[in-house]
């Protein structure tokens, strides 16, 4: 994962919503960040950098059909992140790689 030519990883997000972030280099700085007042900033948890990824066959019936997932496709590769694996504070950011891109799935 690179930004301005430097690698970096996300250990944790505080709470809330689902996103997929693609980390790319040379992103211009444009908007003001003034007025940022988070209610609480917690201590960072260890970064998840090598998550276990399995095929549908390997997963078997472990994930049930009505469970919600966050899905993304990059190039010809598709990956799903079941929400029910992301809710613990230590799990809310998954640093991953897909289709040659460094991504972070966050909840």
């Amino acid at each position: 994962m690179q930004l301005d030519g430097r690698r970096f990883l996300f250990p944790r997000m505080k709470s809330g919503l689902l996103h997929l972030l693609l980390l790319v280099g040379g992103i211009p700085v444009s908007a003001s960040a003034d007025g940022f007042n988070p209610h609480k900033v917690v201590k960072a948890f260890p970064a998840i950098t090598d998550p276990r990824i399995v095929t549908v066959d390997e997963a078997g019936g472990f994930v049930e059909g009505n469970e919600l997932v966050l899905g993304v496709v990059i190039g010809k590769q598709a990956r799903a992140y079941p929400l029910n694996m992301l809710t613990n504070p230590t799990r809310e950011i998954i640093n991953d790689r897909l289709g040659g891109s460094a991504i972070a799935a966050t909840w």
């Binding site: 700085v29 960072a44 994930v63 079941p82 809710t87």
Partner: protein, 188 residues
């Protein structure tokens, strides 16, 4: 969230560094899809998935029954108001055309509103208006071509083979979207 290398503090929803060395820098937000595992597998039978232990069993299709609590928000880029549409509205109108800040958009929602995705309605300089035309398909007003509501791909008709541009968006708790985008419009 923080990055390990500089300990800068980032907003997860904005994808932007708010404090620290990277302050002001932004990450590209990918157009992910939130849906059920069964629907995802139908679309992507060769998918891989995260294989960690469960931390909860709460997040299932039924969570969207409380649709008033959720919106589908579209990221239009830094400094631009980010519009959102209530999930309840999308459940009522699963092919939803609208415009915000000069952007002509389309949000499509799956059955029961469990899956949503945003697209641009501008194609080769023309603005299209879409309407639902059957299970999983829609048609445009200019050519009556048939389109896949999930992928934005034209399946048949004059525009066959063309694909609508996907816009980054996410299903979000309403209160969270309002907090992060106080200037954004929520279509009820």
């Amino acid at each position: 969230m923080r990055d390990v290398e500089t300990n800068s503090l980032w907003s997860h929803l904005l994808g932007k560094a708010m404090r620290g060395e990277f302050k002001g820098a932004e990450l590209k937000i990918l157009p992910g899809v939130m849906t059920t595992w069964s629907e995802w597998c139908l679309r992507h039978p060769r998918t891989t998935l995260l294989g960690m232990s469960r931390t909860t069993r709460s997040y299932r299709e039924a969570v969207w029954k409380k649709s008033n609590r959720f919106v589908y928000g579209v990221h239009l880029g830094a400094g631009r108001p980010s519009p959102a549409v209530s999930l309840k509205r999308l459940q009522q109108e699963p092919v939803f055309n609208f415009e915000s800040a000069g952007h002509v958009m389309l949000i499509t929602a799956g059955e029961k509103g469990v899956r949503a995705r945003a697209f641009s309605r501008k194609l080769k300089g023309e603005i299209l208006v879409f309407s639902a035309s059957g299970k999983g398909t829609m048609t445009d007003d200019r050519t009556s071509s048939h389109w896949d509501v999930t992928t934005g791909e034209c399946l048949g008709g004059k525009l066959k083979g063309t694909v609508l541009a996907v816009l980054p968006g996410t299903i979000s708790f309403r209160t969270a979207w309002e907090a992060f985008f106080p200037e954004g419009r929520i279509v009820e």
